[in-house]
């Protein structure tokens, strides 16, 4: 199999380049991450990438494969056009090879106060929530913070420092939608700004790439309708 992989060595001072690899590999049933590991183990130890769970739940190995943001560990090699071109996630700074600097992404995540705010005294047992109320959270809490959506969003490319991006907004809505949370007004106040939320133009790249099948655009739409409801 043939690969073209983005390489950047921060210590050499050299400009980033694309390196070609020819790997003798039976692709049947294997994923992109398997190939990256095989390249590292047998061809080139210096190739660097992040990985952890290797089953699509930890969100470490978001990369751009043949132009699409994907999780390397759940993307089948079969069916990919060769040479397979692997690049780091777009727009974020590259630390080395396929490893990007996620600091900005995490900062946006923290900005939406991604934790339950409830100032009532804690009850003895659980706070009740009906299955229907709980179902409102489905499609929100499963986000693995891989960054595939945010880094595929043109609005994020244009204003990465001010637009929170689909992942953070999805998490923002996860707490707005939780019947146990009492800070909806503060959360909406924070988002009512020309940049943080309203840079979203419904381009929907986020929906297309999300490896968990989540829909940040829909969540952003729900935040907007709550804002409207509140204003009118």
């Amino acid at each position: 199999m043939r690969f073209r992989i983005y390489r950047y060595d921060p210590e050499s001072g050299a400009a980033p380049r694309v390196q070609e690899y020819e790997l003798d590999f039976d692709a049947k049933g294997k994923k992109v991450l398997d190939a990256l590991i095989a390249i590292k183990d047998t061809l080139d130890e210096t190739l660097s990438f992040r990985r952890s769970c290797r089953e699509g739940v930890c969100g470490s190995d978001g990369v751009n494969v043949n132009g699409n943001n994907v999780l390397a560990c759940v993307t089948p090699l079969e069916g990919l056009k060769q040479p397979i071109e692997i690049r780091p996630l777009p727009r974020l700074g590259v630390i080395r090879d396929l490893i990007v600097d996620m600091a900005q992404f995490y900062q946006h995540y923290r900005a939406v106060k991604p934790y339950l705010i409830n100032l009532d005294p804690e009850p003895e047992n659980e706070r009740p929530q009906s299955p229907q109320q709980r179902a409102e959270l489905d499609g929100l809490w499963e986000c693995i913070l891989c960054g595939c959506c945010t880094t595929s969003c043109p609005s994020f490319w244009w204003n990465p420092d001010k637009f929170l991006g689909p992942a953070a907004l999805l998490q923002g809505y996860r707490f707005i939608a939780d019947t146990r949370d009492q800070a909806t007004d503060e959360r909406l106040d924070f988002l009512e700004d020309p940049y943080r939320l309203f840079r979203c133009h419904g381009i929907m790249n986020c929906v297309e790439v999300c490896p968990k099948g989540l829909n940040p655009t829909a969540a952003i739409g729900k935040i907007k309708s709550l804002l409207v409801k509140r204003a009118l």
Binding site: D189, F190, H201, V228
Partner: protein, 117 residues
């Protein structure tokens, strides 16, 4: 890093954009029906179409909505694409320039519409 934000100007603009779009979407078919009903469109028919005060106001609102829509749309584009260190001033200047231009258009619209007797 400290960042200011939360100007609460996001929703107004977004709502205005939608509201103006809705008005335009309603007005255009209405106007088309009126125009068709007025028979063959010669100068007299076209002139007569704008004779009623209701039509004047409706048309004025349409132009106002269109200009607001256009201004907000431009503002979106400026926000998306202009963000160099010194761009804030440029952006403000552009907002202002287009606001003046569009207001001028609106005044002109009033002048045209209310000159129809």
């Amino acid at each position: 890093m400290r960042r200011v934000g939360g100007s609460h100007r996001g929703l107004d603009m977004w709502l205005m954009q939608r509201a103006s779009a809705v008005y335009m979407a309603l007005f255009l078919p209405f106007f088309l029906v009126c125009a068709l009903a007025a028979g063959p469109l010669d100068y007299a028919a076209w002139h007569g179409l704008f004779a009623s005060p209701a039509m004047k106001v409706a048309t004025f609102l349409f132009v106002a909505a269109m200009l607001a829509h256009a201004w907000i749309g431009l503002r979106e584009i400026f926000i998306d694409y202009l963000h160099c260190a010194r761009c804030t001033l440029l952006r403000l200047a552009l907002y202002f320039a287009f606001a003046v231009l569009y207001l001028g258009c609106l005044v002109w619209t009033v002048d045209i519409l209310w000159n129809v007797r």
